[in-house]
C-alpha cells in the first residue's frame, strides 16, 4: 500500500482511501464511479482491491465478545429511578414476557387512546425518510476532479465552459459528476482537460 500524500485532487489516492467501502458496498454512487473509473486503468489499485477483500473477510470473521445482557437489562428496568418506567411489580413477578403483557393490559387503554389521538392529529407527521434508502446513481457520464487549490469561480467556469451540466458532487472524495449528450461528451472532455485546475476528466458509463 503506497504512502498517502494528499487527500484530494488525485483519483489514485482517492481510490486508495475509498477501497474499504468499495469492498463492502457502503460507498456513495459518485465515489463508486470514481473508483470504477480508476480501477479500470490502475493495476496497482486492482491489487490493493484483492488484498482489501481478504482483509475484509478476515476482520468480519473475528469472534465477537460473548455478552449476555437482557436479564440484567430487565433487572435494571425494574430498579426505581427518577424516570418513569413500567411498574416494578410486573417485572418482578413473572419475567419480561408476562411483564410486557401485563404492562400492555394496564397501559393498554391509555396507549390506545394516545395512539388514536396521534393518528387523528390534524398535523401530519413528517414522512420518515430513511437515510439508508437505496440511492439512485446520478445520471452523469463524466467524472471530474479539480486540484485542491482550485477556487470556486474557476471550478464553475470550467464546468460551464465544458457545456456539461453538474448533476452531483462534490462527493466525499471531492469528485463531481457531469452530464452531457453522448455525442458531445468527447468534446466536453477535451475542454475540461484543457482547464488548468482539472486533475481528472473521465468518461463514466454506470451500469444500469
Amino acid at each position: 500500500m503506497g504512502e498517502l500524500l494528499h487527500l484530494r485532487g488525485d483519483p489514485h489516492e482517492a481510490t486508495m482511501l475509498l477501497l474499504p467501502w468499495y469492498v463492502t458496498g457502503a460507498i456513495e454512487p459518485g465515489d463508486r464511479l470514481l473508483v470504477d473509473a480508476h480501477l479500470a486503468g490502475c493495476e496497482e489499485c486492482r491489487g490493493e482491491l484483492a488484498a482489501e477483500r481478504r482483509l475484509h473477510a478476515a476482520v468480519a470473521g473475528l469472534p465477537a465478545p460473548s455478552v449476555t445482557g437482557w436479564d440484567r437489562m430487565v433487572a435494571d428496568l425494574a430498579q426505581p429511578d427518577e424516570t418513569p418506567r413500567l411498574p416494578n411489580r410486573f417485572l418482578r413477578r413473572a419475567g419480561w414476557m408476562l411483564a410486557a403483557q401485563a404492562a400492555v393490559l394496564v397501559l393498554g387503554v391509555g396507549v390506545v387512546l394516545h395512539l388514536q389521538r396521534q393518528a387523528s392529529s390534524p398535523v401530519a407527521p413528517e414522512p420518515y425518510h430513511a437515510l439508508g434508502s437505496p440511492q439512485q446513481a446520478p445520471a452523469g457520464n463524466i467524472l471530474v476532479m479539480f486540484a485542491p487549490d482550485t477556487r470556486e469561480p474557476a471550478l464553475r467556469k470550467a464546468i460551464e465552459a465544458s457545456g456539461a451540466r453538474l448533476v452531483d458532487g462534490p462527493t466525499a472524495a471531492g469528485a463531481y459528476l457531469l452530464a452531457i449528450a453522448p455525442n458531445e461528451r468527447a468534446a466536453a472532455l477535451a475542454r475540461l482537460r484543457a482547464e488548468a485546475g482539472v486533475t481528472l476528466a473521465q468518461p463514466v458509463d454506470p451500469a444500469p
Partner: protein
C-alpha cells in the same frame, strides 16, 4: 465495469422502516418492541464497544447503558439518521467515558500478552492462526483506529455514518482507515505472506 461486491443495499431501507416502527412502539412503552431492538443491537454494540474497552463487564455495562437510553429516550430519536448510527454514536461516547474512567495504560499490552505469541509460529497455518495473528495486529492499533476498522469491515457502515458516530470529519475516518489497513497488513505480512 464494476469491481464492487455489493451493488445495492435495498434491504437497508426496509430495515429502517421496520426499526422506526419499533421505536414508535418503544415510545409507547412496548417492552416487546424494545426487546426486539435490544436483541438486534446488543451483539453489534457489544462487538463495537469491545474495540474500545476491554473488560467484558465494562462492555456489558456500556451496551446496556446505551440501550437503556433507547428505552428511556426513544422520543429523542427523530429518524434524521439511521437508528444504528444513533445508537453507535451513543455507545461510542459512553465507551470513551468508561475508558477514561477505568484508564489502564498498559491495556493493549495486557491483551497482547493474552494472545498466543511466537510460540504458535510452529503451528500449521490454519484459520485459527490467521485469526490470532489478526487479533494481535488489531490489538496494536489505537482504540479509535480499531473502531473504524470494525465499523467499516464488520458492521459495513459507510464513511459518512462512521464520521457521525465518532464525531469527526469524513476525511479523518478515511485516513484512519488507511493507516489502520497499512498497519494490519504490515503486521500480518511477515507471518502470513501468502495471506496478504
Amino acid at each position: 465495469m464494476t469491481y464492487t461486491d455489493h451493488q445495492a443495499r435495498p434491504t437497508l431501507a426496509r430495515e429502517d422502516d421496520e426499526e422506526m416502527g419499533l421505536v414508535v412502539a418503544v415510545r409507547a412503552r412496548d417492552l416487546r418492541a424494545f426487546e426486539q431492538l435490544y436483541r438486534r443491537y446488543q451483539p453489534r454494540l457489544a462487538r463495537f464497544v469491545g474495540t474500545l474497552v476491554r473488560s467484558p463487564a465494562l462492555v456489558e455495562e456500556v451496551v446496556n447503558d446505551t440501550l437503556m437510553v433507547l428505552w428511556q429516550k426513544a422520543g429523542d430519536f427523530t429518524g434524521a439518521s439511521r437508528l444504528s448510527t444513533w445508537l453507535f454514536a451513543i455507545a461510542y461516547r459512553k465507551a470513551v467515558r468508561a475508558r477514561n474512567r477505568h484508564a489502564a495504560p498498559s491495556e493493549s499490552d495486557a491483551v497482547l500478552a493474552e494472545l498466543p505469541g511466537d510460540a504458535a509460529a510452529d503451528a500449521p497455518l490454519s484459520q485459527d492462526r490467521t485469526r490470532q495473528a489478526l487479533q494481535r495486529a488489531m490489538a496494536g492499533l489505537s482504540a479509535d483506529h480499531r473502531a473504524v476498522v470494525d465499523l467499516t469491515y464488520f458492521h459495513e457502515i459507510g464513511y459518512r455514518e462512521i464520521a457521525e458516530i465518532l464525531g469527526c470529519p469524513v476525511d479523518t475516518v478515511k485516513t484512519r482507515m488507511f493507516h489502520a489497513r497499512r498497519h494490519l497488513r504490515r503486521a500480518m505480512a511477515g507471518e502470513l505472506a501468502d495471506w496478504i
